[in-house]
């Protein structure tokens, strides 16, 4: 079996304050994913390597890492796709706790801020909320997000200012605003209208390139700008 060299950025806070690089030669074939290579290293070569993973099939969104400088899901990228040495780093723009494990706290705070769930205070809560296929089609594309955080690592605006709500949170806000069963748009608009809301986005567009579920967060955020502008105009006339 042929091998491929993985150069992994290690960070062991109990040993050193700065990260360092460590090389591993991993056996691989056409079906070996980055995640399987990391599992091989942990099981057979160096048990101290730390990283997150769970489902192995691009559903849980846990195994995001930088592969040759690009945000990728470890389970959805394969060694065969990379000709030379593969550089693995923790996801960019987040604080690193250990090796490939990042602190996602700020991302989770931004998610919570936009209330990404159905808000509906209609009196008869025993009734099901019916929806037509056309109403579903309006937001379906934006509902595939798995909260992996790759779009945050792709977003230079988030890298420059972590207070920016960021692609995934703004996309989910838009997804619920577009949902015919939801009544929470007014609450979410307050977040979208902030400077750290939709207006920090400058449509670099790389978030949509790296999204493993083809959600197109850049489109959602910029549709959010149109909504925010409409919201401003409507509020001007309401006064």
């Amino acid at each position: 079996m042929t091998t491929k060299r993985l150069s992994i950025q290690r960070y062991l806070p109990e040993q050193s304050k700065t990260p360092f690089w460590q090389d591993f030669d991993v056996p691989f074939d056409d079906s070996t994913s980055i995640l399987e290579a990391l599992n091989h290293i942990k099981e057979d070569m160096d048990g101290s390597l730390s990283y997150r993973w769970s489902c192995r099939m691009a559903i849980c969104g846990s195994c995001g890492v930088m592969v040759n400088g690009e945000p990728k899901l470890g389970c959805k990228s394969f060694l065969r796709e990379y000709p030379g040495t593969i550089k693995i780093e923790p996801l960019a723009h987040f604080p690193v706790q250990k090796d490939l494990i990042i602190d996602m706290e700020i991302f989770l705070e931004h998610l919570a801020a936009v209330q990404p769930y159905l808000i509906n205070d209609s009196e008869d809560s025993t009734q099901t909320h019916k929806q037509t296929p056309a109403q579903l089609a309006k937001y379906l594309k934006f509902s595939d997000c798995i909260n992996c955080g790759l779009c945050y690592s792709a977003c230079p605006q988030f890298g420059l200012n972590p207070e920016f709500l960021g692609p995934a949170a703004l996309t989910l806000a838009h997804r619920y605003n577009l949902d015919s069963r939801d009544q929470g748009k007014a609450q979410r608009m307050a977040q979208l209208n902030r400077e750290e809301g939709v207006w920090t986005c400058t449509f670099v567009g790389y978030c949509s390139e790296v999204c493993p579920k083809s959600v197109d967060p850049a489109a959602a955020v910029n549709q959010g700008k149109v909504e925010s502008a409409k919201d401003l105009l409507i509020n001007l006339f309401k006064r």
Binding site: Y11, P13, K17, T18, P19, G69, E70, A92, H93, F94, P95, V96, Q97, K98, D103, E105, I106, E109, A134, P156, G159, L160, P162, E163, T202, F203, V204, G205, Y206, E209, D216, A218, A219, N222, Q223, K225, V226
Partner: protein, 131 residues
């Protein structure tokens, strides 16, 4: 914001040089620089018109300078490049629907270029008549 443990690598000033998407983005944003020059030229022309014939001749002479022409050609190219990026992004930001059916992005992009051609033809007609 939660207290961070570990280390937090800062984004360096040259972040945009490390990825071709970021370079393309910066090229798109940089199109404003030659456009600023074009607008300054335009405003200077209007101002020299106010000052009188001597000033106007001076401005005409400046506009015929090969360097001025080169920068203004660059501005034209830059604005067309910016338009191309804008036209491609537009259907994603404002997806249009007619009678419940989504208009394909390709049509919206072509429609915008058709608009550019119309404006150019209008200008050619208006300014071409006097020649």
């Amino acid at each position: 914001m939660a207290k961070h443990v570990g280390y937090f690598p800062e984004l360096k000033r040259n972040w945009w040089l490390k990825n071709r998407y970021f370079m393309a983005y910066m090229a798109r944003e940089a199109t404003v620089l030659p456009l600023v020059f074009f607008i300054v030229c335009l405003l200077a022309g209007l101002y020299s018109l106010l000052l009188g014939p001597g000033s106007w001749q001076g401005w005409l002479h400046f506009m015929q300078n090969p360097i001025t022409i080169a920068i203004n050609l660059l501005a034209l190219g830059a604005s067309l490049f910016h338009a191309a990026t804008f036209f491609t992004l537009f259907p994603r930001v404002m997806p249009l629907r007619v009678g419940g059916r989504a208009i394909p992005a390709k049509w919206i992009i072509l429609g915008q270029w058709f608009g550019v051609l119309l404006v150019m033809a209008l200008f050619a007609w208006v300014f071409g008549r006097g020649m």
